[in-house]
Amino acid sequence: MKSNYDILVIGGGPAGALAAKTAAKAGNSVCLIEKRPAIGTPVRCAEGIGKELLKEYIKPDPRWISADIESARIIAPNGTAIRLDQDRAGSEVGYVLDRKVFDRELVWQAAEAGADVIVKTRATAPIMENGAVRGAKVLSAGTPADIRAEVVIAADGTEAQFARRAGLETVVPLREMMSCAQYLMTDIDIDAGSTDFYLGNEIAPEGYLWIFPKGDRTANVGIGITGRKSRDGSRAKDYLDRFVAKSFPNGKTIEAIAGGVPVCRPLACTVADGLLVAGDAARVVDPITGGGIGNAMYTGRLAGEVASTCIEAGNCSKESLMPYDTEWRASRMGTILERNYKVKEYFITLDDTKLNTLADSIASISFSEFSVAALIRELIKRNPKMLLELKALKDTLA
């Protein structure tokens, strides 16, 4: 194992792969380490992504697309369904991926661009010199080693321990951690062209339950609830089991996974001396949908670009790396994250009666444009009696 690189990337998910590919293409020596023995497994994801977002980073390929989605349905507690078709739903409808293959493709592209890839290698601590990150202490299949680098890009996912050990605050408050469970089920009656989102405090308190098709009669059936609603007997797995027993009593579960999705605001700062943080580790997950693949690829690529510029300039200080933080915050992604955080904070306050009222008010509408902003505008227009409390929602559009 080489002990010196321009850039060390920690984590072999979409953020790490895009960071490594971008930095290697720019001519840097790059090492990507992944603590697990295989890229892409185990999957910790519902695997949905918007089509347009995906296409910004990679050409869609049937080898890693499980399903092409034509519509989305949001189902209120009383069963009212709001249906959104592809031409109107925009970024909310898309592909359901096969992450096991997709993640490998992304890492393969990083390797092809010249990055070294090392699996079963875990960063245990940053190498710190004069307050700056200068690489990582690793355990590679049990053998300790030092990997030094000018810049480390931490893309280590929800756990985000590398940035934390370098001094950044990454702990997710219990109320903002979505506690999730998912079954890959087969032999179930579903609409293979529709992603379904079930809302309600009985079905998924402060979260939602999803059915994301993976093909005919096969789907990711999963749920996320907030950590504060999670208790013995009413955990994510309990809610999921109850839904499955009722809706798919004869379905077969061929994979059972769990996971945590942070729906807090992004890290207060995503750079430090010699360090950039990208993807779920930076907490750039959409707080409404819980989607993080696209934002991971965006921040990963941007981190790779900014790191490359700073290495060429010979200055990898926090100040020099700061354009990374400034740029993503000012980007469309940054704006949407902030707005959707506020919208999420409002929606989790709604009881089922109010959810039903709001859903009923817009169920018959044919949206000319479907977006969170359009949805909010319609909700405000059609619920004059709730004007006072919808003001919080209205303010998010300002």
Partner: protein, 61 residues
């Protein structure tokens, strides 16, 4: 009185949700093995967040 964290390895899904909410950075997910690497203060946040109910804080006299 001391506290300890009991990990039910048959229930654990090795997802790392507990790692991200632990205020002490005491937990570590090493492939398919959740390990208590540093001292647990028994706050129970990880046990609440666990999607599968695999964690329990046990108080001992």
């Amino acid at each position: 009185m001391s506290t300890m964290l009991r990990i039910n390895r048959d229930k654990c899904g090795y997802c790392g949700t507990c790692v991200a909410v632990c205020p002490e950075d005491a937990l570590e997910l090493i492939d398919a093995y959740l390990s208590l690497e540093r001292e647990c203060i028994g706050c129970g946040i990880c046990a609440r967040a666990c999607p599968l109910g695999a964690l329990e804080v046990v108080h001992e006299e």
